[in-house]
Amino acid sequence: MSNATLKELSDRLAAGACSSVELAQDYINKINGLGKSLGCFITVDAERSLAQAKAADARRAAGNAGPLTGVPLAHKDIFCAEGWLTTCASRMLSNFVSPYDAHVVELCNAAGMVTLGKTNMDEFAMGSSNETSFFGPVRNPWNPDTVPGGSSGGSAAAVAARLAPAATGTDTGGSIRQPAALTGICGLKPTYGLVSRYGMIAFASSLDQAGPMARTAEDLGLLLNVMAGHDPRDSTSLERPAEDYNRSLAQPLKGLRIGLPREFFADGLSPDVRCAVDEAVAEYRKLGATVVDISLPNMELSVPVYYVLAPAEASSNLSRFDGVRYGHRAAEYTDLMDMYKRSRAEGFGAEVKRRILIGTYVLSHGYYDAYYIRAQKLRRLIARDFVEAFRQCDVIMGPTSPTTAFRLGEKSADPVQMYLSDIYTIAVNLAGLPGMSIPCGFDGGGLPVGLQIIGNYFDEARMLNAAHQYQLATDWHTKAPAVGQG
């Protein structure tokens, strides 16, 4: 049963072939077994999950079920969920039981979906390997010696290992797409503003965006239909009419213009990844698409720009953790200043502190124009490159990540090496565009490769159409790691 997609589970529940309680129990059993050894979850609360499942079954019996009523999913531990421990994978929040729901959680609950648990992640979503979690790393189900990517590493590994049919994630610089690529699943970061950030613990507010992670493009659309929507509590949430993101799935791809940015295929791209991506593009040609050579000349600057802007925003956002209203407070201190300093020194891990220091430095007197304002100007140049590119093509394709999954510990000593693993994803966040990753093959060692599809603003339906048509013609998305089979 746990090998089924979201769509299949939805159909089975509708046909009465299984109950939501049976489904939830089945997944919880796997989470308590395999899930533990992979480190996918921070919190599992079977009682709470089963109560939700029971309510979903009752709702169905009463004839009020929606398409996803009774279907289980996992939430990244960055989303506040009422009554659930919500830690953001930090010691700072290791005792924080959320008194309210994030908008995304509210919407999933209202749809009747069942929360299977809260997934592990990089602390405060800062990382690309899921190694910065206070609760320990997540292991990649394809090879437990390698990382699942990050920061939504627990969500990605859980979906890949069939511990959940789908999960929520968040993406500030690639945190949905890169782990999706490294674990062989699908992940979509929507256009900035489509999904409310209310109750999603803030990292870099002008870049953070929540999105679905699942095994097929169709499932991403189903979940995005639930997650997206205006919310007045997030001042950046867009007021747009509701849409069915799966409305164009069946459309043939004939005439689709695919832009291939030269900069995505330059030095630093692993030959195995390149080969898989080239083959995917060849498949798209067979499906009737045409290929256009494009350029994103400022893309190279996206990593340095991001490592000014994101830490600057983070240093401001994370100032709320002061040991007064919630979170960790040091046991010993001399005065208020000392209490702040010790609580924060103890509560935050090394990478989070590093980014707070970078952010504080670039925002401080004398450096603000040279770093922060300059980075904002470059951000506009990067965004303009995309506007220019979309004059010549409908979607942009390339690798999601320069390499497949790397070994645990391989990049933890050098932050810059780690930061560069998001080289193909960061520019999309800076521009606020939608981006997704779908599996498109394997490297020589049997580790999955992700194909990135970048769309124009609000073009999620077209991206899902392109991904779905590819998945009708290929079977990469059906491949499961050995541990997830059966």
């Binding site: 924060r344 935050f348 100007k377």
Partner: protein
């Protein structure tokens, strides 16, 4: 000629802005994070690497470009002036480290 001027300019800034141990201590103080000497030293080594990456930003001329603060050039909305939040003090204070009579307790700041 322009390239020449730019490279001098870049060099000047790279030199002038190399991050020092005192900068790390100052930033840590501003960010209210306690660091001892060993931590400050380790942070300096890592931040020097990161700022090496960040300095690449100087390669491009940005004169005349408007800073972009946000992914969408949004206008802030005004909402109706009405009560939207109910009082949930007890729920919110249940997760606080120390409260008494509805107040958050901190060490004394005024003698």
């Amino acid at each position: 000629m322009i390239t020449y001027t730019a490279s001098i300019f870049n060099g000047f800034f790279t030199l002038a802005m190399a991050i020092q141990l005192d900068d790390v201590r100052r930033a840590a103080h501003l960010a209210r994070i306690a660091v001892d000497d060993a931590e400050a030293g380790a942070a300096l080594a890592q931040l020097t690497r990161v700022f090496g990456l960040i300095e690449q930003m100087r390669a491009v001329d940005v004169s005349g470009i408007e800073p972009m603060a946000h992914a969408q050039d949004l206008m802030l909305r005004l909402r109706a002036d009405e009560v939207t939040e109910t009082n949930r003090r007890e729920r919110f204070q249940a997760v606080a480290p120390e409260v008494e009579s509805g107040l958050y307790l901190v060490p004394k700041v005024i003698e």
